[in-house]
């Protein structure tokens, strides 16, 4: 048996080794990872998050978004819709209770609709104590959209409503994704939107707000050609 196998080995090895040492460079030389385990295509993302708005109010948000991935780097978050549940801080309570301020003077965002472009330059893996592997990626994004302010309380009869308080917004974001499987991944996103607030009540004036959103998401990826 040994001899028989050796004979075959000899023949093939002799042929194989006749390959010249100086070969053309492989196209794969330019890449670090030849074939990724997970490929993203269409991403539906459900998120919960916080909006550390200002010293007076904090928001807790729920979001839904859909993203189309063009390749391993570029993606378009076609739409992201977030609704915020607002909570007063102690300071606001104090101002309302002690200093008799009207709650209407605080105008945190209530709804956020954005679209954006995302770039994922970083992709990697971590070994957990030399055992499990965590695959992840970092992304940066640019987002634009509208924010609707929290104006219901003082709308009264003639005043503006929440949907009337439209604030054009634009800003950058950072994201971190942990792949759970080909279809599921978890994401942590941090976005900062510069929001232009038009005057809604007399003497308030136009203003520029910085709205921060921190979201933890579960993403469902489908339609990838793996």
């Amino acid at each position: 048996m040994r001899m028989a196998i050796q004979a075959a080995v000899v023949a093939v090895t002799a042929m194989v080794t006749s390959t010249a040492l100086a070969q053309n460079e492989s196209a794969y030389q330019k890449v670090a990872v030849q074939k990724r385990k997970y490929v993203l295509a269409n991403e539906l993302k459900l998120s919960v998050g916080v909006l550390p708005l200002d010293p007076y109010e904090k928001g807790y948000s729920a979001s839904l978004s859909f993203t189309r991935h063009f390749n391993q780097y570029w993606a378009w978050e076609i739409v992201s819709a977030s609704a915020a549940l607002l909570a007063d801080t102690d300071l606001k309570d104090q101002l309302v209770d002690v200093f008799g301020q009207s709650p209407d003077n605080f105008a945190a965002p209530r709804l956020v609709f954005t679209t954006g472009v995302e770039l994922t330059p970083f992709y990697g893996k971590w070994a957990f104590l030399n055992d499990g592997i965590v695959r992840h990626s970092f992304l940066v994004g640019g987002y634009a959209g509208v924010i609707f302010g929290d104006r219901e309380e003082f709308s009264g009869g003639d005043g503006p409503t929440t949907l009337g308080d439209v604030r054009p917004s634009v800003g950058p974001g950072l994201g971190y994704r942990v792949f759970l499987s080909q279809n599921w991944s978890a994401r942590l996103d941090w976005r900062t939107l510069l929001s232009f607030r038009f005057e809604q009540v007399p003497e308030e004036g136009d203003d520029l707000d910085v709205v921060m959103l921190i979201n933890l998401s579960l993403s469902w990826n489908f339609g990838a050609d793996v």
Binding site: K30, V31, A32, V33, F122, G124, W126, A127, L129, V134
Partner: protein
């Protein structure tokens, strides 16, 4: 889970590398594992840091500090001492309250500096590609420790003990230089009129770390197994006259004779 069980085992702190996990019956017809040499070894680490401490709504601390860390293994390290000074910047909330609401709330003492010591546990080590081209190596650690915080205000200047914990990410640029991003939560204890009150704040800081040394304190006396052979010794043995340099010597000897 076996990893975690191993982690919790006694003696792990001092001899982590000796702890082995038996894969057991999950190896059916084998599995492939890439065994990468770690490109960098941390030993004595000196770090310079800058960061932010959003202590409360009235001011933000901009921190400047440094630390020394002794690495006992690739997993365990002791951040023996760290010091962070906080330069406090007003958030304008006070003036806004004055302007909008004619209110002037009372302020608490402000954080001045932090001194601490931490144990660092680095369970994650990995690598990252940049545009699927270059590779950078990283480690993710958790720090747990305690120390003292100095607060100063109009009426008092006091030290408060604190415990702190949080994750951090290290990106290696080479054997000597690495960058660290740490996020730590602090819980301070304060004696207010005879009762203990707790307070929380975060400290996020970015560090540039400089690593010195090759041999760790836990490795002194251990010899590395380095194969001194190159394969050519066997050629010398099998074909004694094949070494061109040896033959030159022979020829010279012949001339002498």
């Amino acid at each position: 889970m076996k990893r975690l069980a191993a982690l919790l085992g006694a003696g792990l702190l001092l001899a982590p590398a000796s702890t082995l996990a038996k894969p057991g019956d999950r190896i059916e017809s084998g599995r492939i594992i890439a065994v990468d040499e770690r490109p960098y070894r941390m030993v004595h680490e000196f770090a310079l840091s800058t960061g932010v401490i959003p202590t409360d709504a009235f001011y933000v601390g901009l921190s400047l500090g440094g630390s020394y860390t002794l690495h006992l293994s690739d997993v365990w390290a002791w951040e023996a001492v760290s010091f962070h000074y906080s330069a406090n910047v007003s958030t304008d909330l006070e003036s806004e309250l004055q302007r909008r609401f004619q209110a002037a709330p009372e302020q608490d003492p402000e954080l001045q500096y932090l001194v601490g010591s931490h144990v660092m546990f680095t369970p994650f080590f990995g690598k990252e590609t940049i545009f699927n081209s270059d590779i950078v190596f990283q480690g993710v650690h958790l720090a747990l420790g305690g120390g003292l915080s100095n607060f100063a205000g109009d009426r008092e200047d006091s030290f408060r003990p604190h415990i702190s914990a949080g994750p951090g990410l290290r990106v290696f640029f080479g054997q000597v230089v690495s960058a660290r991003l740490d996020l730590r939560g602090f819980m301070t204890l304060d004696d207010v009129a005879g009762s203990l009150e707790t307070d929380f704040f975060f400290h996020g800081f970015l560090s540039v770390a400089f690593n010195f040394g090759k041999t760790r304190a836990t490795e002194i006396g251990k010899n590395e197994d380095v194969d001194p052979l190159t394969g050519f010794e066997k050629l010398d043995e099998l074909y004694p006259r094949s070494n061109p340099e040896a033959i030159i010597v022979d020829e010279e000897e012949e001339k002498d004779e």
